[in-house]
């Protein structure tokens, strides 16, 4: 492989990781945009999603490097795993909101945020307790089909990750632009009091934001497993933290910002591993974050003062 090939290869990988970070970052951003709440339980909703998808795949007999299924049955199983992880996480998000956050509605100060930290610990420990501390192997069910781009290879896995991510982000875009609830979400994010006086039931908007954000994190969890071929109870804090950084980098509360931030973090992760050294990855990511926040406190695409006047 030449240097160019390596670069191309790492860009391919970086886009996959970036798509995953973007999906998770969207959950932080959707909730923050509507309630100005940093939802720390989101880290571990993502982690749970990774386990849900794993168990669905295993339930269909897909484990390890098995290529026991192919063609449409495989596509079907992957779609089922994705949907179950998304819906499962979506409901988990809704339950978290309903049980732990709605009772705190209207309470000023950091209590809601701190509650989400508590919920995050609960999820973390439940997984630890029932699923154990060992790292789980994630199946790699895709046929070993590759395409050469110069000396770099584009695996089927990458294409799958891109297709899933693109479809979900396009779906989110269409939902927020076209659907009634999507418009209510945007209106609530821009001016919650005015939205309420149009007859928007803000609690339902919040519930929808939690469902969608958590469902996207569930998809992110499955992508994590497919990409790294493992999952573990710690990924919420490792990958989740980077996704959170992506949301802040792009401008928390801003949907395109989450996508952009995710891509940047994904590309930094793979390129810095290639060009500098893996141990510098976090240094580079957080230096960039600090630098961006110094010059653009609201993030790359964020607005300095959300229009609330």
């Amino acid at each position: 492989m030449t240097a160019t090939d390596l670069l191309v290869q790492q860009i391919i990988n970086g886009v996959s990781l970036g798509a995953m970070y973007a999906l998770i970052a969207l959950g932080f951003t959707l909730v923050y945009g509507i309630m100005e709440l940093i939802n720390f339980s989101h880290f571990n909703v993502f982690m749970v999603g990774s386990y849900i998808a794993l168990y669905v795949l295993e339930a269909f007999g897909i484990s390890g490097q098995s290529t026991l299924m192919s063609g449409w049955p495989l596509v079907g199983v992957l779609v089922v795993a994705l949907l179950v992880a998304m819906v499962g996480c979506g409901f988990l998000g809704v339950v978290i909101e309903r049980l732990s956050l709605r009772p705190l509605r209207g309470v000023k100060g950091p209590s809601a945020m701190i509650t989400t930290i508590g919920v995050s610990y609960i999820l973390f420990n439940l997984v630890l307790l029932f699923l154990g501390t060992d790292t789980k192997n994630y199946p790699n069910p895709l046929p070993p089909l590759t395409f050469a781009i110069g000396g770099a290879v584009l695996r089927l896995r990458e294409i799958l990750i891109w297709v899933i991510s693109l479809a979900l982000m396009a779906g989110l875009y269409v939902f927020t632009r076209r659907s009634k609830m999507g418009k209510a979400m945007r209106a609530t994010a821009q001016d919650p009091d005015a939205a309420r006086m149009m007859g928007v039931e803000v609690d339902r908007v919040i519930m929808t934001a939690f469902f969608l954000g958590s469902a996207l994190a569930g998809a992110g969890g499955m992508i994590f497993g497919l990409y790294y071929n493992f999952t573990s109870f710690v990924i919420g804090y490792s990958a989740g933290l980077r996704a959170f950084t992506a949301a802040v980098l792009g401008g928390i509360g801003n949907v395109p910002g989450a996508m952009l931030g995710g891509m940047i973090i994904g590309l930094i992760e793979t390129l810095s591993g290639q060009v500098v050294a893996v141990r510098w990855t976090d240094v580079i990511i957080f230096s960039l974050l600090v630098l961006v926040l110094v010059f653009r406190p609201a993030g790359l695409l964020g607005r300095v003062a959300p229009n609330k006047s």
Partner: protein, 248 residues
């Protein structure tokens, strides 16, 4: 023309309403009666509870005691969404459009509690006829409009709810004199088409020219009420709100 004591056929009525923010007692035993078809104006200085009156109507704050009747039925325990469905729509202080949504989307939000059928299109056409400017700008983000244009969208958005009563909080605030005049003309036009309007105004001079009746609020108490014609010649009002010295 309309009698101030027609409480039996009031569209909106406040009975001994008290509203608090925590310990702060804002509305104190307030009574209002607004009959269908009226323009009623609420005058008062800064921080006397005018916006709180609007919030109490829309259900953003709940009265601590007292009753708010809409169409003869108590509504003070209903959610804001339910009140919108029953026919209350706001034109908010400083307009409060959704700045990063288009003009058309803002109008859609006005009709949020309704089905999007032929009635929606009918009302949209009415708003466009009333405000040709709004139609021209329908695809523009509302945050990029001028203050006067935003006010048209804000009124249009309220009309899209097909309400029976529109509450307006300082519709003339921050507008150039030309737009103030236009806004009051529009208010009068929609009132002549049958809309009941309860309007908070600092611009008493203009407001009293189009209103049928007015209430004066002072530190949360109604201190004066009567027909707009009486108010216009009332020396206290002239001094306090019309910028003239009382004739001794």
């Amino acid at each position: 023309m309309l009698d101030a004591t027609t409480s039996s056929q009031s569209l909106l009525e406040f009975r001994d309403v008290n509203t608090h923010y925590g310990d702060l007692h804002v509305l104190k035993d307030v009574n209002y009666n607004i009959a269908a078809g009226e323009i009623v104006c609420l005058l008062g200085g800064n921080a006397c509870g005018k916006s709180t009156t609007m919030k109490t109507i829309m259900g953003v704050v709940r009265p601590t005691t007292g009753t708010v009747l809409f169409d003869g039925k108590p509504i003070e325990k209903l959610s804001t969404a339910e009140r919108v469905k029953r026919g209350l729509a706001p034109v908010l202080e400083a307009r409060r459009l959704f700045p990063r949504m288009t003009v058309y989307e803002n109008l859609e939000m006005g009709a949020y509690t309704r089905k999007k059928g032929p009635e929606f299109l009918e009302d949209l056409e009415k708003v466009y006829t009333l405000f040709p400017r709004v139609k021209e700008r329908r695809s523009q983000l509302s945050g990029t409009l001028s203050g006067g244009e935003q006010q048209m969208v804000a009124i249009g958005r309220a009309l899209m709810a097909r309400p029976r009563l529109i509450c307006m909080d300082e519709p003339s605030m921050g507008l150039s004199p030309l737009f103030v005049e236009q806004t009051f003309e529009i208010i009068q036009t929609i009132n002549r088409q049958g809309m009941t309007i309860f309007m908070v105004e600092q611009n008493a001079n203009m407001a009293l020219q189009i209103a049928h009746r007015a209430y004066v609020l002072q530190t949360g108490k109604v201190v004066l009420s009567g027909s707009a014609a009486e108010m216009r010649v009332n020396p206290v009002i002239r001094e306090a709100y019309l910028g003239e010295l009382a004739v001794a």
